[in-house]
Subunit: 343 residues, 2 copies
Amino acid sequence: MTKPKTWTLKSIAKELGVSNATVSNAFNRPDQLSKARREEILAACKKLGYFGPNKAAQSLRRGTFNIVALVLPDSVEYMVSDPVASSFMRGVSAVLEKNGINLLLFSGNNDNLNSVVDFVDGFICYGRPRNKQLVEQLKQVAKHVVTVDFNIGRDASVNVNNQQASFDIAKHALQKNDDRVAILGLRLLDNDVLCRVYEHHEFEAGQSIAHQRLRGYHQAISDAGITLGDDRTWNIPESSERFASIAAKEALSSTPRPNVLLCMSDLIALAAMREALKMGLSIPEDVKIVGFDGIDEGQRFVPKLTTVHQNSEEKGRIAATLFLSKEQQTAEIDYQLQLGQSS
Amino acid sequence: MTKPKTWTLKSIAKELGVSNATVSNAFNRPDQLSKARREEILAACKKLGYFGPNKAAQSLRRGTFNIVALVLPDSVEYMVSDPVASSFMRGVSAVLEKNGINLLLFSGNNDNLNSVVDFVDGFICYGRPRNKQLVEQLKQVAKHVVTVDFNIGRDASVNVNNQQASFDIAKHALQKNDDRVAILGLRLLDNDVLCRVYEHHEFEAGQSIAHQRLRGYHQAISDAGITLGDDRTWNIPESSERFASIAAKEALSSTPRPNVLLCMSDLIALAAMREALKMGLSIPEDVKIVGFDGIDEGQRFVPKLTTVHQNSEEKGRIAATLFLSKEQQTAEIDYQLQLGQSS
DNA sequence: ACCATTAAGTAAATCGATTAAGAACCTACA
DNA sequence: TGTAGGTTCTTAATCGATTTACTTAATGGT
């Protein structure tokens, strides 16, 4: 005579003639009841079709959820389109999956952490989210948070030395005393518009990876004794091939035509190479192009891309591991220059 | 004199000298109290730092969560590596994001829906999950479910006519009365091993997309008056370039050397083309190769890939929309043959 | 002046669990 | 035989909210 359609701890307990606590203990604390009782209860539950305590209720009571939210820099769409971000996610998910923890995707466009804070054990935040309010909220309301590629002075963080890496790669590209440099940047401005950037001085304190990389470039450029023109930097608001191509085309047909292109991502660098070839320029004779990230496609491209390789998947694994350990520390990830034929 | 570190509805109510219900109503049912009271309460909450009702508790009470689980065919890793799956996810997330609903990633390797059923409003299941138990559980315990690329006879589903599409593309490839066909399949067997497949008859009833596509191929092959050899089909257990390359190499160096390669995905077809070129074969003169999916890279490759194009992003959007509408129906998605130079 | 509505707010049950404290019983040792 | 200790199980408070049914006061029509 199975009573309810959907069983609860309470109804099961009543059906079996034992107390709530005993059923709960049967599932959670085997030491609290006799082995015989326990097995009897478990068997009965299985037979009746009760699959164990409701997780939502359990979580409310316990305050733990087995869910971590991955805060993305932008929309979910962006995340799965970008090979670097995808690798990172692969690393994160591998570790979490192994630990039986679920992953909730949280768009960096959201303007309120509120809809998820109460549902998760914490946050892994990949890059500075597009919506700045999120940063403040993370600081204030997150139970636990690991930030990647930027820092909010809380819990743990994972970083690559972007400034040093950019310096290194730019230095490599500028070896031969070239004098016409252009920079194809990431999201340097908040205006969502593909445009040139003029007020360089404003970025010397910026904390996003775009700003960090820009500082590295600037340093290398100035070390090489070159003066960077006022209109030689492009702001590319989102990491898409479309935007990258437009910016590359613009840069390559601007005057004076640059013969060194410092690109803040491989996606951009590849688009730039395609455009350059399409314009009949030869690489690196007419224009040297360097990227950042080290994605597979860059190594397959002809000519092979010169870039900074960072192991994003490893970064993801470290971030997740750090999250689970609840340790409070900052991990710095290695990078390597990958020298191709594009510079 | 702010009392607790972290406010609850109850403590806020006490602090303000009103009842629980009134505070709750202030947030959820404006019509239940005077405008003045409401604004007063909301302002006080803001000042005290109470950001609104705890979502976990709210969900427990209401039974709704604003979270949908995306059940993946395999690990999360696989999902972000596969361009087709990524597009699908892009479509899903775009629609959900617009509706303020969060996405929980659920690996198809999990053996228990249990850890999430109580946390989500339902499931979008992309392809038959690797772990078959999940299918049974979906049928039984899911509040709501939309399946994609397969069917469990519940709620809604989104499908492409894989069999017809495969028939069409195979027919195109076999136009010239070729006689040496090989098939590079997806996951046809459950053994997780890259191997040849012998017992073809077993698949005539299979419901996964791999089986559906195989039926299409078989039909076209038999229509062309060709007899498919007993060892001409490869089982590729996961959609990775590594496996695809190995299988392609094996197929292309098998006797008799096939001059038509029917590949169940573009990823496989591209790997096959690379291997063929590496072996000094010319495409399509020595071997015709066709794929399935219509990913961008296939159109950039030289020679351009001949394939079946399906709009995965659209598929994702439809699946999500169907989920939200709670309608009970089956949507069939269009496909188009994309004729390149590879066949 | 009377009764019927409507508006504003509250008390208490409820969602489905966990867990501290304690009751009842049994064992065993001096 | 008395009591200390150990098992086994139950009672009841609690997590943080929503919502039905109800009280009280104010309004309005005749």
